[in-house]
Symmetry: none
Subunit: 252 residues, 2 copies
DNA sequence: CGTGTTTCTGCACGTTTCTGCCGTATTGTG
DNA sequence: CACAATACGGCAGAAACGTGCAGAAACACG
């Protein structure tokens, strides 16, 4: 059996059964687990599957990436947020995406900043209420509990009624070829709509998002202004990105 | 079964049932409670759920925690909220006003309630995200910081696009002659607009609001269906109200 | 055909992760 | 306060992982 053939079989099996258990496949095919592990490692590197302990699962489930998320310390989000805040000029209309990274942006805003923050996240809006000077514009609609933001037709319509100077976007995957991706289709559409309303779009992505791919495309890399990340400059995923992305801003 | 698979199952179960009981899951899956506890601990560390004694509940993406905050709410608000919740029938479209009393209503909602909650308060919406089954419709607009709700032209327009079966209204003054009053003109107008969209309007007012008057009129008493309060039946203010108001429901 | 190179494969070894158990501490309940 | 349920940390065995290595197969090229 050819290697390529075997790997194809792995992918087929992955989509049909929703998972791969390395030990099982190795026994069925009569080859060592080492080879299967090597296959899975390569497939994962190519973005075709997600490696987990004992085997692999489809990328579509990558949103539950426990190991990497467990290692996400608030410190990295705080650094990224601090860098993002520097982009905001007094009087700007800032469109702020939902998510924990953008929530960190709220906490990083200078107390005397006079700007308008536009968001479709009730969580972000609720946090902003305590800020003394920013104006808050809330985009309404049906709340998707999965992502805790307003999505759908009503939210998109509300979004198209406004414009912003910059959009601070959060995604779960930033990949040199696959572009910006996230785990929910409606959410992806909403992010795209918001990006269309802003003069500049900045992506906020902590290190573990760099090189990752989620199921739904938000935007291609050429549609954004820059990526703000804390990924280490030496990482291969970041270097690949720097050859494709318009700009990469490193958060010290 | 893969570890990742099991943890995914836990999250699925968490969102579908609103909670996880470690002992139950351990028995069903035929593994030790220790492993489940370890899973829940890691998931909690990754921000996917919140650990509680005996298992886990959905994570608080909101500033206010769905459950724990309920324990620090004044007993009076809890009682009023409990009474108000009884008015909601499965499938209802409930318009929920902003404020601490209506926030207590969120915490008093049964976990299995299937209803649509419509609100112009980001705080209310953020708290509702924790609820396993209700649908949330957020009315957007400019956020007024003193009242922490969306008001103004855009919010009113969004409100006129929806209808509700009942409106749970919070005010700062309930007076036999002066009617229902509040402290902000824009806020009063928004409450009036919401009342117009609902078949029934119920006022939630703790004892100290009964007999009080604030600067801006929201509605006259004949425009509402009933008042829910915990005021003592003997108080003169309540007795005066009972001669004028359509109905007064006492929260035991 | 011969030879040097690359790729694939299995094995061995040390490391990491997972799991169940046990003793102890903590929490909830009456 | 007492009792039961639950949580936590440490421990040891098992399973899975990554890596380096060497042999085998496939390949490229003169």
């Amino acid at each position: 059996m050819l290697v390529a053939e075997r790997r194809e079989l792995l992918l087929t099996r992955l989509s049909s059964e929703g998972k791969i258990i390395a030990a099982d496949v190795a026994r069925e095919l009569g080859i060592s687990e080492d080879s299967i592990r090597r296959d899975l490692r390569d497939l994962a590197a190519a973005g075709h599957c997600q490696r987990v302990y004992g085997g692999a699962v489809p990328v579509s489930r990558a949103l539950v990436d426990y190991r990497s998320r467990a290692s996400v310390e608030p410190e990295s989000k705080r650094r990224i947020a601090a860098r993002a805040v520097q982009l905001i000029k007094p009087g700007d209309r800032v469109i702020l995406d939902g998510g924990t990274t953008t929530l960190a942006v709220v906490h990083a805003l200078p107390a005397d900043l006079e700007a308008t923050i536009i968001t479709h996240s009730p969580t972000i809006a609720a946090a902003l209420i305590e800020h003394p000077s920013v104006e808050i514009l809330l985009l309404g609609g049906r709340i998707y509990k999965h992502s805790a933001v307003a999505c759908g037709a009503a939210a998109a319509e509300a979004a198209r009624a406004i414009t912003g100077d910059l959009f601070l976007l959060g995604v779960t995957g930033v990949h040199a070829e696959q572009g910006l991706t996230t785990g929910d289709a409606e959410e992806a559409a909403m992010k795209r709509t918001l990006a269309a309303q802003a003069a500049d779009t900045y992506v906020l992505a902590s290190a573990e998002k760099i090189g990752a791919v989620s199921p739904y495309l938000v935007l291609t890399l050429d549609a954004i202004t820059a990526i703000i990340t804390d990924a280490s400059p030496g990482s291969t995923a970041l270097q690949a990105l720097q050859r494709t992305a318009p700009a990469v801003m490193l958060a010290a």
